[in-house]
Symmetry: C3
Subunit: 347 residues, 3 copies
C-alpha cells in the first residue's frame, strides 16, 4: 500500500494503542468485543486494505466499498455498524476521518529536519540562521534574513533581504519570499511566491502610473500555503494571513487582503485587493472575490462563487454573482425549468 | 517566418515527399495536376506564407485569408477547393491540421538531447542516471532517484529522493517532483510541481488536523503536462495520469484523482480530489470539477463548466452547475429572452 | 508605517514640493490656506496615517475613515472637502490615487540596480551582457542570449539560448524564458514562464499528434507581467504583448495571442489561442476568453466573464457567456426575481 521508498513507518502497533490515541471504541459487527491486542502494520483505503491494515469510512458514497472491504479494522460512525463485513474490527467514533489522520500520523511520523547548510546554497554574511536549520542546494538567502530554529528552506528557494522566518517552518523548493515575515510551524509548499508587488496602477490621462507597493506580507503561525500560490504584499497596509489558516494550490491573494485565523481557501481562488476575510471562513475552489469586501466570521462560499458584496458572519453564499445559498438553489431550480418553457424558446 | 535563431530547419523538401508523408493528394484549384517536384523550404500561417511555404486551412473562420494567401501550397479539405487562389498548389486531405503538424515536424525535427551532466548540478551519490541523460545547471537530484536513458532534466529543477523518471522524458526548468514515478517519452514543461501534499485537513472540534498524504503520483507514457500545473500526490491511493494524456498550463489536479488515457485538459482547470476521469475525456479551459465524481469515457466538458455530478460516457456537458449540453443551450436561450421580459424587470 | 527594513525613504519633503510634483492645490477644510512649508516624512493609509504622513481618499467606501483620519495631509477630490477632519491639510486634485502614487514614488524611489554578475550564476560564453547588468546567484544564461544595459536577472532564473532582453528590464527570481524577445523597462515578476510550447495537438484517428510550435513571444516596452503567469509562444505566428500593457498574476496566455498597448489583464484570466486584444482593453479577474476572437480597442470585460464572441471596440461585456453589460445586468435582475416565482418552483 504505502510505498516504503517514499515513506517510513514506525512498524507494528497494537489496536489498543490506536483506540487510546483516537478515543474510538473497539467492537465487531456482531456486537462481540474486538481483539484490542491485535497488531496492525499500516493504514490503507477501503478497497486496498488487507488484514493488518486500518481503514476508514467517512463519505457515505463509499459504503458499498466498506461492506466488502478486507480491512482488518476500520474507523466508522456508529450508524454504519450494521453494514460492516463479518470479521472486521470496528473503531467506532463520531469523527472517523480525524481518527484516521491521527492514526496515519502515528504510523508515519513526519521525519525530523536534518540540520545542515548545503555548500551549494548562497547565504549572505548578515543572515542570521537559527539552530538545527536546514538549507538545501541552490537556495539564496539574502542580507539580513532571519531564519528561526529547526526551519527548512528548500532547494533553489530565494529569500530576499530582510525576510524573517520563524522556527519549525518548512519552505519548499523553488519559492520566493520578499517583504515578508513568517511565523512558526508554517508549511509553504513548492513554487509559492510571496511579497511581490501588488497589481497597483493608477490610470490617468497622463498614462498608467505604477503605484509603489510599500506594505509587507505577515503570515501567522501554523499556516499552510499550497504550491503555485501567489500572495502580493500590501500597498501601504500589510497583507496578512492569520494563524492556522490553510490555503490550497494556485490561489491568488491581492494586496492588503486581511485573512483571519482558521480560514480555509481551496485551490485556484482569487481574492482581490483590500478584502477582509474573518476567522473560520471556508471558501470553495475557483471562487473569485472582488476587492474591498468583508466576509464575516464563519461564512462559507460555495465552489466557483463570484462574490461582489459583503457576506454576513455565518452565512453560506453561492453563485455568481454570489447570493445566499438558499436563494441560489431556488434560482438554479427555476433556471432548470426555464429551459423547458416553450414560450421562452420560441419567438 | 520561422526565426532561425530559435529553430533549425532541415532545409528544402520536395512536394512529393510531403504528399507521401501526409497522404495528401496534390492538385490545383483549376483541377490541373500540381507540380510534385517543386521544392519547399518552410511552413507558415496563411497570412504570412509565400511562394516556397506550405500552409493549412483548418478553421473555416480563416477562409478569406486562404482565398488571398500567397502560400505556394496549402493543406485543405476537399470542400474548400473552389475558394483557392489561382496558382496555389492544394494538398487535399480530410485532416489538414494533422498533415500540417506532420510536415512541420519534418521540417523542424526535435533536436536530439545532448547528453551531459552539468558540473553545476547537484547529484546524490545513490542516484542512478541512465545513458545519454542531460542534467542542466542548478538541478538537484536527490538520493535514490532513477533517471532513464536519454532523458533531460532542466535547469534548477528539483527531484526529491526516490523519484523515478523513465527514458526519453523531458522535464523543463524549475520543476519539482517528489513521491512520483514518471513513464517514458513524457514532456513536463517548466514550473510544474508534482507530488506535494494534497489538501487534506480533518476539521473537528479539536482543531484542524493535517491528514498525512501517503500516496504517490503515477504518470504513464507519452504524457504532456503544461507550465505552472500542480499535481498533488494521493492521500492513500495514488494520483494517476494515463498514457498519452495532455494537460495544459496552470491546471490543478487534487489528490487521488485518476485520469485515463488520451484525456485532454485545457488550461486553468481544477480537478478536485478522488475524481475519476476515463479514457478520451476532453475538458475545456477553466473548468472546475468537484471531488469524488466519475466522468465516463469520451465525455466532453465545455470550457468554464462547473461539474457537480457524474457524467455518463460519451456525453457533452456545459454550464455551472454543468448539465447536458443540449439542455444547457436551451437554458441559455431562455435566459437571453428573460432579460427582455418586462414583467420580470418591473415590480 | 512603512517598514524601513524593506524600503528606503529619501527622508523629509516639504508640502510645496508635493503640490508642485502632483499639481494638487493646498487648502484646509475650513477654507483657510494650508501651510505649504510643513515637512512630511511618509505616506500612509487613512487609518494609520499620523501628523507627518500624507494619505489619500480615492474610493468613497472609505469616506468615514477619511473623516476621522489623523493624516497630516490628504489627497482628495474637491467634492469631499466638507467631510475633512479639522486640522487636516487637503491636497485637492481630480486624481488623488495618481497623485498619491507619484508622491510615494518620490518618497521611495526605486533603488538603482547594483551591477554585478554573481559568481554563482552560469553564463554561456556566447552570451552578450550589457553595461550595468545584474545577474543573481543560480541564474542560467544560455548561448547567444543578449541582455541590454542596466537590466537585472533574478536568482535561479533561466534564459534559454538566443533569448533577447532589452535595457532597464527586471526579471524576477525563478522565471524561465525561451524563444522570447523582451523590450526595455519591462518588469517580469517571479515565477513567470514565457515561451514554452503552446497547447497544440492535432487529434486524428491515428492518435494525438503534437503540433510543433514554431513562433516566438514578443514583449514590447514598459510591460509588466505578474507572478506565476504563463505565456506560450506562437505556433507559427508570434504571441505578442504591446507596450505599457500590464498583466497580473497567474494569467494564462495561449499561443498566437496578440495583445495591444495599454491593455490591463487582472489575475487568473485565461486567453485562448489566436485571440486578438486591441489597445486599451481592460479585462477583470478570472475571465476566460475563447480562441480566435477579437476584442476591440478600449473594450472592457467584467470579472469572471466567459467570452465566446467578438467584442466591438469601446463596449463593456459581462457574464458567461458574455454579453453587453446592460443586457447582462437586466438578465441578473430577471434571474433574481425568477427564484421567487412560485410557478417555476412548483410543478
Amino acid at each position: 500500500m504505502v510505498d516504503s521508498r517514499f515513506f517510513s513507518s514506525i512498524g507494528s502497533v497494537y489496536l489498543r494503542d490506536i483506540a487510546s490515541l483516537t478515543g474510538a471504541s473497539i467492537t465487531m459487527a456482531s456486537g462481540a468485543r474486538g481483539d484490542e491486542n491485535r497488531p496492525f502494520t499500516n493504514v490503507a483505503p477501503l478497497d486496498r486494505a488487507q488484514e493488518h491494515d486500518i481503514s476508514f469510512l467517512d463519505n457515505v458514497k463509499y459504503i458499498d466499498m466498506f461492506a466488502t472491504s478486507q480491512a482488518g479494522a476500520c474507523f466508522i460512525r456508529p450508524k454504519y455498524k450494521e453494514r460492516a463485513p463479518a470479521g472486521m474490527i470496528l473503531l467506532v467514533t463520531e469523527d472517523p476521518y480525524y481518527a484516521y489522520a491521527l492514526t496515519t500520523q502515528h504510523f508515519y511520523p513526519e521525519p525530523k529536519v536534518e540540520a545542515g547548510i548545503s555548500p551549494l546554497a548562497s547565504i549572505a554574511k548578515t543572515a542570521v540562521i537559527g539552530k538545527g536549520v536546514r538549507v538545501d542546494a541552490g537556495a539564496v538567502i539574502g542580507e539580513n534574513v532571519t531564519i528561526g530554529d529547526s526551519s527548512w528552506i528548500g532547494a533553489n528557494t530565494v529569500l530576499a533581504p530582510s525576510v524573517k522566518i520563524g522556527s519549525h517552518t518548512r519552505i519548499g523548493a523553488l519559492c520566493t519570499l520578499s517583504h515578508t515575515i513568517v511565523g512558526n510551524r508554517v508549511v509553504i509548499h513548492r513554487g509559492v511566491h510571496i511579497g511581490q508587488d501588488g497589481f497597483g496602477f493608477a490610470p490617468s490621462p497622463k498614462g498608467i502610473l505604477k503605484v509603489p507597493q510599500m506594505g509587507r506580507v505577515l503570515i501567522g503561525n501554523d499556516v499552510e500555503i499550497g504550491s503555485g500560490t501567489c500572495i502580493d504584499r500590501g500597498a501601504g497596509p500589510d497583507t496578512t494571513i492569520g494563524d492556522f489558516t490553510k490555503i490550497d494550490n494556485l490561489v491568488q491573494i491581492g494586496h492588503n487582503v486581511q485573512i483571519g485565523k482558521y480560514v480555509i481557501i481551496v485551490a485556484q481562488c482569487g481574492i482581490s485587493g483590500s478584502t477582509q476575510i474573518d476567522d473560520g471562513v471556508q471558501i470553495g475552489g475557483q471562487v473569485g472575490v472582488a476587492g474591498h469586501l468583508k466576509i464575516g466570521a464563519g461564512a462559507k462560499l460555495a465552489a466557483r462563487s463570484g462574490l461582489m458584496h459583503d457576506v454576513p458572519a455565518g452565512e453560506t453564499y453561492g453563485g455568481a454573482p454570489a447570493i445566499p445559498a438558499k436563494e441560489w438553489r431556488r434560482q438554479m431550480v427555476a433556471i432548470g425549468k426555464l429551459g423547458k418553457k416553450k414560450e421562452l424558446l420560441d419567438e
